[in-house]
């Protein structure tokens, strides 16, 4: 029996859906990296906080539950910006990265404490379960949430591109990402662009929380942790110093994971991470500056 089953339309549809979610996370991570040069390892825990909010408000109407999710994630993002990112802004990238590790573990521990009050670990988010039903499109079963993921990702990325390309604050954000020192000397307000980047990043985290809890409704303290690590790798593979290459990197690793997952027989699915990361190593060997980078990896002057 062949180890690799045929990659069919079903697999491709699921892979695009996964790629869309990962692309959203990649943008969320890339936006903050652009203006703060901070790799936010705690990004997954923002998603996790949103997922728990959805789970704890499962009895509420869906719209109220989603609103609560956005409120919690945005409040948490802005609190982190004020209390941690802003004071540490002038520190080295290593200090900031380690700090986000600490935040990640802290948030996981807080989630665990809140979760085990009922004696079990894990809460189910049910209010949007209907989106898990499949509809048939041209003979391929497509879960509604996959359609939602792709539409939401395309819309969010389109709106973000408009904001960055067509507005003054977008121009200021791009300038801050390219050369923050000069941007400030020109009068670009550092706190405003950083605040906006963190806010947008939080909006994306809440969106991802909604989509992921539909796909896998059981929320535990390590929710979205695996996804975050994979997306961080994807962002680096794509090229973290520019937003669109980071985004493509996120999509690519999501899509590749989906395809490999579909191609592996069910009893071999434990090899998925090995296959994905072997691919990552290969890409980094061949294109060390990033999969979508222009030219060779040279220091820009």
């Amino acid at each position: 029996m062949s180890l690799v089953a045929a990659v069919d339309a079903q697999t491709l549809v699921d892979a695009v859906g996964l790629g869309a979610v990962y692309a959203l996370m990649a943008v969320g991570i890339g936006l903050v990296f652009g203006v703060l040069r901070l790799v936010n390892f705690a990004y997954g825990q923002l998603v996790m906080a949103g997922a728990y909010t959805l789970a704890f408000t499962s009895a509420w109407p869906a719209a109220a539950s989603i609103a609560a999710c956005f409120a919690v994630v945005l409040a948490l993002s802005l609190a982190l910006e004020r209390s941690v990112f802003r004071p540490l802004r002038t520190q080295s990238p290593a200090v900031m990265l380690v700090t986000t590790f600490a935040i990640a573990f802290l948030l996981q521990s807080v989630a665990l404490v809140l979760d085990v009050r009922d004696g079990t670990i894990g809460e189910a988010a049910r209010s949007l379960g209907g989106l898990n039903q499949a509809v048939s499109v041209g003979g391929v079963d497509v879960r509604k949430v996959t359609i939602v993921a792709v539409v939401v990702a395309a819309t969010a990325l389109g709106l973000l591109a408009l904001l960055l390309e067509r507005t003054t604050i977008g121009l200021h954000m791009r300038a801050a990402a390219a050369d923050f020192r000069t941007a400030r000397l020109l009068g670009v307000q550092a706190d405003r662009v950083i605040g906006l980047a963190v806010l947008l990043s939080g909006l994306l985290a809440a969106t991802v929380a909604v989509i992921l809890t539909v796909q896998s409704p059981l929320v535990a303290p390590d929710f979205a942790l695996k996804e975050t690590i994979v997306v961080l790798v994807g962002v680096v593979v794509g090229g973290i110093d520019r937003l669109w290459t980071a985004t493509l990197g996120g999509f690519a690793i999501g899509f590749a994971s989906g395809v490999i997952n579909g191609a592996l027989p069910t009893d071999k699915s434990v090899f998925l991470p090995s296959a994905v990361f072997a691919l990552v190593i290969l890409v980094l060997l061949l294109r060390p500056a990033g999969l979508f980078a222009r030219g060779p990896a040279v220091e820009r002057v």
């Binding site: 003054t168 121009l171 200021h172 791009r174 300038a175 390219a178 050369d179 020192r181 000069t182 941007a183 400030r184 000397l185 020109l186 009068g187 670009v188 307000q189 550092a190």
Partner: protein, 236 residues
């Protein structure tokens, strides 16, 4: 003499324990073009960065029209009306010429942004011609014009220039000084840091010579032809 627009008084700046500026005091009055020359490491760029709030003062004070600038972040100094044309131009090569100019508007506090842009485009016609192109595709001299134009659209009360002729071919340096002459005619107050001593002394109303972070002497335009005075200013 009118009240000074920019006033430095007893300014000391240190990099760690190394003093970069020591007891530096001078003033720039409105409408004046003041030069700042001196050997490498004399503290010329440091002076500009201290004015912009990019370096903390150890002691002393810097005032703009009587208002102390101490403790203001660079973006606040820029919005208070001081525009810097940084060393190496620091234009955004991946952005269009027009986007670079619009970035200069970030510090602008008054209305009339469109008029300010139009004025700069008429002052530097080459920027109007290439406004949709990536700024990185411009030549060095054109990029310098862009950097100066980007500072001017902010409508600054004081323009700081950090070695605008650095790395440019002699013919292009003429273009830059011609642009500075136009700026002078418009009544913009300028503090010009340069390496080209003779040319700067001839061009500016007054030129301070810095050495080891101190103000060594001040030269007048008439001194530009006096080679002994220039050499003495550097080597005394």
């Amino acid at each position: 003499m009118s009240d000074p627009l920019l006033e430095l008084e007893g300014v000391e700046v240190r990099y760690g324990t190394v003093p970069a500026l020591r007891d530096l005091s001078f003033a720039v009055v409105p409408g004046e073009i003041v030069g700042l020359i001196g050997p490498n490491g004399a503290g010329k760029s440091t002076t500009l960065h201290a004015v912009m709030g990019a370096l903390p003062l150890n002691t002393g004070s810097i005032r703009l029209a009587g208002q102390p600038l101490a403790g203001l972040a660079p973006e606040q100094v820029a919005r208070a009306g001081i525009a810097l044309v940084p060393e190496g131009r620091r234009i955004y090569g991946g952005f269009s010429v027009e986007e670079n100019l619009r970035l200069g508007l970030a510090a602008r506090q008054e209305d009339g942004a469109d008029e300010a842009l139009a004025e700069v485009l008429s002052l530097f016609p080459v920027l109007a011609e290439y406004r949709k192109r990536p700024a990185g595709a411009l030549s060095g001299g054109q990029q310098q014009q862009l950097a100066i134009g980007r500072a001017l659209v902010a409508g600054p009360r004081l323009l700081l220039l950090d070695e605008p002729s650095l790395g440019l071919a002699p013919a292009v340096v003429d273009t830059v000084f011609a642009a500075l002459a136009t700026i002078r005619e418009r009544g913009v107050t300028v503090l010009l840091v340069e390496q080209r001593a003779r040319r700067t002394v001839a061009f500016c109303d007054r030129t301070h010579v810095l050495a080891n972070g101190r103000l060594r002497t001040t030269l007048a335009p008439a001194d530009a032809d006096d080679t002994r005075a220039l050499v003495a200013a550097y080597l005394a």
